[in-house]
C-alpha cells in the first residue's frame, strides 16, 4: 500500500519535472528577446547600450539556456517564479490573487457540480432507458457540445439584457473576498457549471449503469436487499471509482473553460493574466501560470489515484 502510494507520488513529481522542462523549452523558443518586445522603441532609443547590456545581465538573459534552466528549476523548487522582466515585480504578486480567484471560481463550480451531477447521473442510471434517462443523456451531450462562450453570451442575453436580474459584467476587484467575488459572478459560475454538470453527470450515469448491471449487484438482488440500498450502498461507490479518474482529467478542461469564461465576464482571474502575460512576453508570468495550473491538475489526478487506492482493494497491488 505504502509502496503504491510512494510510486504514484513519484510519478506525479516526474510528470511535473517534465512539465517544467516542456514549459521552459516552449517559452524559450518564442522568437524575440523578451526585453526587446517589452520596451518601446522610444524608451529603447534612450537607453545607452551599456545600460541595456546591464539590464540583460540583471535579468539573466545573457546566460546560456542550460544555466537558465538550472536556475529556473531551482527557483520552482523554492516556489520562486522570479520577477517580471520590465517592472521587476515578483511574479507571485501578479499571479497570486488571480490564481486564488480562479480557484474560487473552479471550487464553486465543483462544489455545485458534483452533488448535482451525482443526483442527475444516478437518477438517469436507475431509470435507464426511460424518458428521464433519455432527457438526461441527450441534455448532457447538448450541454457539453455548446462552447462556453456561447453559453455565457446566451445567459447574458437572457438574464442581464432581456431580463436584467444579474450583473452582465464583473466589477469586483482582484483582492475582494471570495464571497464578494462569487456574489458578483452568478452568470459566470452558471456558464461553467452547465458544461461541467453535463460532463460529470454522464460519467456518473455510465458508471452506475455498469455497476447496476454487474454480477455482484445481480447476486445482491437475489438476496433480497432493497433496491435503494443496492443503489446507494453498493453500486454508487463502485460507480464513483472509475468516474473519479475521468473527473480528475476533466480538471484540465475545466481550467480551459474557466479561462474563456473569465474573459467573457471580465472575472479577475488567471485568464486575464494569461493573455496579458503571453502578449507582453512576460515569460516568467506565463511559466508560472502554466506550471501552477498544471500542478493543480496533476495534484487532482494524484488525489483521484489515491482515492481509488483507498476505495478499491484490487488496485493496491499494482
Amino acid at each position: 500500500m505504502l509502496i503504491a502510494i510512494a510510486r504514484r507520488i513519484l510519478l506525479s513529481l516526474l510528470t511535473l519535472l517534465m512539465l517544467a522542462t516542456f514549459i521552459f523549452v516552449a517559452t524559450e523558443i518564442m522568437p524575440g528577446d523578451a526585453l526587446d518586445v517589452s520596451l518601446s522603441a522610444d524608451e529603447l532609443s534612450m537607453i545607452p547600450p551599456e545600460r541595456l547590456a546591464q539590464m540583460k545581465r540583471d535579468l539573466g538573459l545573457d546566460r546560456p539556456p542550460h544555466e537558465r534552466f538550472g536556475a529556473f528549476i531551482a527557483g520552482i523548487v523554492q516556489l520562486d517564479f522570479g520577477r517580471t522582466l520590465i517592472s521587476k515585480t515578483p511574479v507571485w504578486t501578479i499571479v497570486g490573487y488571480p490564481m486564488r480567484n480562479s480557484l474560487i471560481l473552479a471550487g464553486a463550480v465543483l462544489v455545485l457540480a458534483f452533488p448535482l451531477a451525482l443526483a442527475i447521473g444516478v437518477t438517469a442510471a436507475v431509470w435507464r432507458g426511460r424518458t428521464v434517462d433519455n432527457v438526461v443523456s441527450t441534455g448532457a451531450v447538448i450541454g457539453y457540445s455548446i462552447p462556453e462562450f456561447v453559453i455565457g453570451t446566451l445567459l447574458v442575453m437572457a438574464f442581464a439584457v432581456a431580463w436584467p436580474i444579474f450583473p452582465a459584467t464583473i466589477t469586483a476587484l482582484t483582492r475582494d473576498p471570495a464571497a464578494t467575488l462569487l456574489a458578483a459572478s452568478p452568470l459566470a459560475v452558471a456558464t461553467v457549471l452547465i458544461g461541467s454538470i453535463a460532463y460529470l453527470a454522464r460519467l456518473v450515469r455510465t458508471g452506475m449503469v455498469d455497476a447496476l448491471a454487474s454480477d455482484f449487484v445481480e447476486r445482491l438482488r437475489l438476496t433480497g436487499i432493497p433496491e435503494w440500498r443496492i443503489v446507494f450502498v453498493h453500486a454508487l461507490p463502485a460507480a464513483i471509482i472509475p468516474s473519479l479518474t475521468a473527473a480528475a482529467l476533466y480538471a484540465a478542461a475545466l481550467v480551459s473553460g474557466i479561462v474563456v469564461v473569465e474573459l467573457v465576464f471580465a472575472y479577475p482571474g488567471l485568464g486575464q493574466e494569461l493573455v496579458r502575460g503571453v502578449t507582453r512576453r512576460e515569460v516568467h508570468v506565463v511559466q508560472a501560470i502554466a506550471l501552477c495550473s498544471a500542478t493543480i491538475v496533476v495534484a487532482l489526478n494524484l488525489l483521484a489515484d489515491l482515492a481509488i487506492l483507498a476505495l478499491d482493494p484490487r488496485t493496491r497491488r499494482a
Partner: protein, 520 residues
Amino acid sequence: MSDITRRRLLQGSAGAALLTALDTELLGDAAAQEQPKRGGALVYAQLSANRRAGGPSNHKHPYFTVDANTKPIWSTPSWVNPDLGWELEVATKIEQADDKLNVWDMTLREGVMFHDMTEMTAADAVASFDYHRQNAPFARQIVKVEAAGRHSVRFTLDAGNSEFPYVLAEYNSPIMKAGPLETIGLDGIGTGPFRIVSSDPNRSMILERFEHYWRRGFPYLDRIEIHNREGQQESALNGLRAGQFDAVLNIDGRAATQFENNPNFAIEGAKGGYSFVIQLPKHPGSPFLDKRVRQAFAFAIDREAIVRVAYSGRFGWVGNDSHLMITDPSFVPRPGGRDVARARRLLAEAGHPNGINLGTLYWSPQLPEAGRYFQVLQQSVRDAGITLALEERPNDGYIQFRTGDNDLTRGNFHKFAMTAVGSRNPGISMFRMRGAFVESGHWRGPEHDRYLALYQRAMVTADAAARRTIYAEMQSILHEEVPAVLPAGGDTLLVRRRHMRDMPYHPQIWSIRFEQIWRA
C-alpha cells in the same frame, strides 16, 4: 440627437445644420440651471484605457494608472480647454523668458496641497519634469528644469517652442511629489481633486474626494470608480443598462445611436476627438520605401466608407494624413479624394502592375470601432489591387509591440501598425511626424528635412496666423510624401445616466474636469 453638446456642433463641419434644433433642446434642458449637489459616486467604464497600464509596483504612477486620464488625481501646470486653447491650471504664470522662445518661466500657485498634506513647491515641479523629460515623448524637448524660487521654475528647451504651454497640459505632465528618479510617482500622491484609495492594475481604480483640493468648493463627488473595459464595449454597455455603471467613456457612434433616444441616458460628444495613424515602416526591403506605393495606398482607401461604417456617418470625419483633427483651424483637407485608378497607376509605375501585398497590418481595440475601421480599410484597398492581412493585438503591451526596435541595424523594426492619435495643438501634432518618431515610420529624406525646418520656424513664430501658413505648407508636404496614413477620425463620445450632471466630453479624452461633475 438629444444632449449632444453645443461645442460638438459649433466646431463640427457637418453639425451646423442641426444647430437650431439643438439650441431649443438645450434651452429646454432644466439640468443646466440646477444647483450642483454634493456627495455620491460616479462609477464609469473606460473603453480607451491607458495602454501602458502597469503592474503591482507601478499601477499608482501617473503613467501607468488604469485610465490615461490622470487629471482627477494629479494637477498639471496648464489645462487645455474644450476649444483647444490653453489655460493656467496649477501655475499662475507660464511665460517665455526671451524672444527665442526656448526659455520659459513658470510660477506655481501657492498653498496647493498634496494628498499627504504637504505643500507643493518648485522642488516637486522640478523633480517631476526631470522625470517627464526623460520619459515622456513630448517633454523630451526640455533640456533643463530648475527652481528659481520657492514657487518659480525655469524650463530650458532644446529649441524654441511657441506652443510650449501645451506641453505642460499633457496627461504625462502631472506634478508629482518630489522623489528620486527611480521612485517618483509610484506613491500615487498628487494635488488633484481625488486621491487614490485602491487600485487594481489594468482593471479598476477607486478614488475618493480630497478635502483640501486647491480649487475651493470642489469636487462635488465623494467617490469615483473606474473600470477598464477596453475592447469590451458590449459588456460595458450591458453593465450600464443593468445599473452597474453610471457612464461609459469612449463609446462608438453605433452605441451613441442606440442610446440617444433613450430617456434614461444622455450622449455627450466633442467633435474631432481622435483619429488613427497607420505607421508605414520604411526599413530596407519594405514596400513603403517607395513613395508611389505610399501614395497609392493613400488614394486607395475609401475614407468615406470608414466614416460611414465605423462612425455611423455623423460621428466621424475624413482625415488628411497629418495628425491634425478636422476641428483644427490649421487643418487642410487632402487634395484628390479617393482615386482608385490613380492608385493602380502609381502601383504600376512602382513595378506592381498586378497589385501588391503589403503584409500584415496590426491593430488593437484602442477604441471600440477599431475593428470595423480596419476591416473597411482592408476591403476598400482591394479595389486598387492592394491586399493586406489584419491581425488584432491586445491593448496591453501594444505600444511596445508596434514600436518594436528603433535600431534599424539590428533587423528588428517597428510594425505596419495603427495607433490612436489624440486631439492636440498643431505644434505637438505636427511634431509627431518627425522622422525620429516611430509614428512617421522613420521618414527620411530632403522633404522630411524641409518639413522639420518648417516646424522649427513655426515654433519660433509667435504670430498664430503666420504659423498657420507654415502648417499648411507642412501638410502639403505630407500629402505628397505620405510618410504615414491617417484616413479618418471620430468624435469623442460618452454615454451617461441622466443623474450624472455637468459631465460634458472633451476633444482631449484626458482633459475632462472630473471635479465639476455632480450627481443628482
